[in-house]
Amino acid sequence: MAKRIIKAETVQITYREAIRKAICEAMHQDERVFLMGEDVGRYGGCYAVTKGLLKEFGPERIRDTPLSESGFTGAGIGAAIGGMRPIVELMTVNFSLLAMDQILNNAATIRHMSGNQFGVPLVIRMATGAGRQLAAQHSHSLEGWYAHIPGIKVLAPATLEDARGMLWTALDDPDPVLIFENVMLYNMEGELPANAGPVNIEKAAIRREGRDISLITYGGSLWKTLEAAEALAREGIKAEVIDLRTLRPLDDTTIIASVAKTRRAVIVDEGWRSGSLASEIVTRIVEQAFWRLDGPIARVCSEEVPIPYPQHLEQAAIPQAEKVVAAAKNLLSK
């Protein structure tokens, strides 16, 4: 009898829809889960992630808040300590600065300060990144800042699987987890297994294998980096692309194994170069794989300028595939 090959069912879905599905599923599975943020209910979410959820779950669980980032983030912290599993949606990382006191001085520290008596199982989601000509105050990529803080975890889903699967694992975590969604990814569309479920939030992923150079990146920059790898392949350079997925903790094992193999690395990070997360990764590579290196390590980051409004300047300010290709070739040249 011929073997019947059963093709797994897939769905066509966008990144935004994948997140929505994840929220929905979590709220169905666990009545402790609720979501609050600005314009998440009636408006349907600034990026339309929560569209339709108010109708499905009601105003208690899809809770519109006033413009009080500090207030409702702190409320999320209190609710988490009090036994709920809140998802706080901060409209963008730019506005999260108003909540930084609550995030750092409370969410990140309470477990430690209380001698492990209280934990904060809170998830905070934020949009991040540039590319829509929203100018200097609406285009930051500050996930690197947050990755500096002990006591929280920081995720950057770049693929549909991760958008769909990271939220549940994050909600299950007894400690605060920040999820950064790059604004340029919301419209990204693709195929996802219909039964896609939770994914780990501890490991980086090798999105493309190679031998000649490691391209290490996360979030919105992943796709530009894959584009760069394709361009390099046409010139005979086989690049390995690593998607960090989690920015805190960083998956040293995967990063180091890759660089040990290829001996060269380019880090692609949409934060500003100075004091960036990329700098941290360069340092870890120097600490742990120095003897394997066959040249210096390069970074492709945002330029040292507040993000400008006109498109050509904005694009010049942030990482691009061409810059990654140039950086890689430079490391491989004589």
Binding site: G71, F72, G83, Q102, N105, H112, F118, P150
Partner: protein, 329 residues
């Protein structure tokens, strides 16, 4: 529970209880001052002298399942709530036997058993957290009150306004207790607020609000009973402004250049213990031997607490990075 639990019953036993709470806190704080000068307690030390009536008046009204959020001036609140004095003292020393395992110190006393959520050092930082605790209880239909203590200095912070607004908007069971001691560190209230009537600010958020003489423990208890009763009945927040005064400096290292000695002396003469003890004596409810017994019992308890703290252990340095994240089983 009687039908009218919203009024204090001034039986002899209860009166002595109130007095004992206040004297216990006062003597503990005094001991902490001494230990700080000899460098046994380090960092910052914020003492509650003069404000005892507020903790003593409010906290015993609560039940164990109610929640308390306080500030860095929280030793009195912790003691009245029932955190063991020995472990509180050990925490001040930084010893492993402290309530927060020595990790927090004077400003970060936490206790899960008594629902005591700190011990917060950011002025105004506890208010959003209090609204969140209340939100959780409301969403799960738990009949619990969250009490949030803070100073009048917090009224200038955005988080104060955001939290009051949220509590009123979402109808959260929070009792906001503002301990107005007239000075935010070294800044007098009228130098930082255009509207110095704090409880009027709360009223603007459509919150039931009251101002009370914070030096009168009975008045504070009465107001607290009214407030807690109201919250339990209506599920709406309540705001209590307790007008009080801080006899000691903001913290130990404070030359008090911002206020008159005469002003301090005047308030001392109207202090909560002086007034209540005087009234009890005058009305024959308490006798000198009652006071003596309270003082000697407390003295003994303090000495034991100090001995416990002195004998406590230092957490090994190898354990430095624990409790940053939950430990995996």
């Amino acid at each position: 529970m009687t039908a009218r639990d919203d009024k204090p019953k001034l039986s002899r036993a209860h009166c002595l209880d109130l007095l004992r709470h206040m004297i216990r806190v006062r003597m503990f704080e005094d001991k902490c001052a001494e230990l700080y000068t000899t460098e046994k307690i380090r960092g910052f030390l914020h003492l509650y002298d003069g404000e005892e009536a507020i903790a003593a008046g409010v906290i015993p009204v609560l039940q164990l399942r109610d929640r308390i959020v306080a500030t860095y001036r929280e030793h009195g609140h912790a003691l009245v709530r029932g955190l063991p004095m020995a472990n509180v003292m050990a925490e001040m020393y930084g010893k492993f036997e402290g309530v927060s395992a020595g990790r927090g110190g004077s400003m970060h006393l936490f206790d899960a058993e008594t629902n005591f959520y700190g011990g917060n050092a950011i002025v105004g930082g506890g208010l959003p957290m209090a609204t969140g605790l209340a939100l959780a209880d409301k969403m799960r239909a738990e009949k619990v009150v969250t009490v949030c203590f803070f100073g009048e200095g917090a009224a200038a912070e955005g988080e104060f306004h955001e939290s009051l607004n949220l509590a009123a908007l979402w109808s959260l069971p929070v009792l906001f207790v503002c301990e107005n001691n007239c000075y935010a560190m070294g800044t007098a209230l009228d130098r930082s607020e255009s509207e110095t009537d704090i409880h009027a600010k709360a009223a603007c958020y459509q919150i039931e609000t009251e101002a009370v003489d914070g030096m009168d423990v009975v008045a504070v208890e009465a107001a607290a009973r009214r407030a807690v009763h109201s919250i339990r009945e209506t599920d709406k927040p309540y705001f209590l402004e307790c007008r009080t005064y801080r006899f000691r400096a903001h913290s130990m290292f404070d030359a008090q250049l911002y206020r008159d000695k005469a002003e301090v002396e005047e308030w001392r003469s109207k202090g909560p213990i002086v007034r209540f003890q005087g009234w009890l004596a005058k009305s024959g409810i308490a006798h000198p031997e009652d006071i003596e017994k309270i003082e000697s019992d407390v003295k003994e308890e303090i000495e034991e607490a100090v001995a416990f703290a002195e004998a406590g252990s230092w957490e090994p340095v190898e354990k430095l990075t624990r409790w940053v994240y939950a430990e995996r089983a």
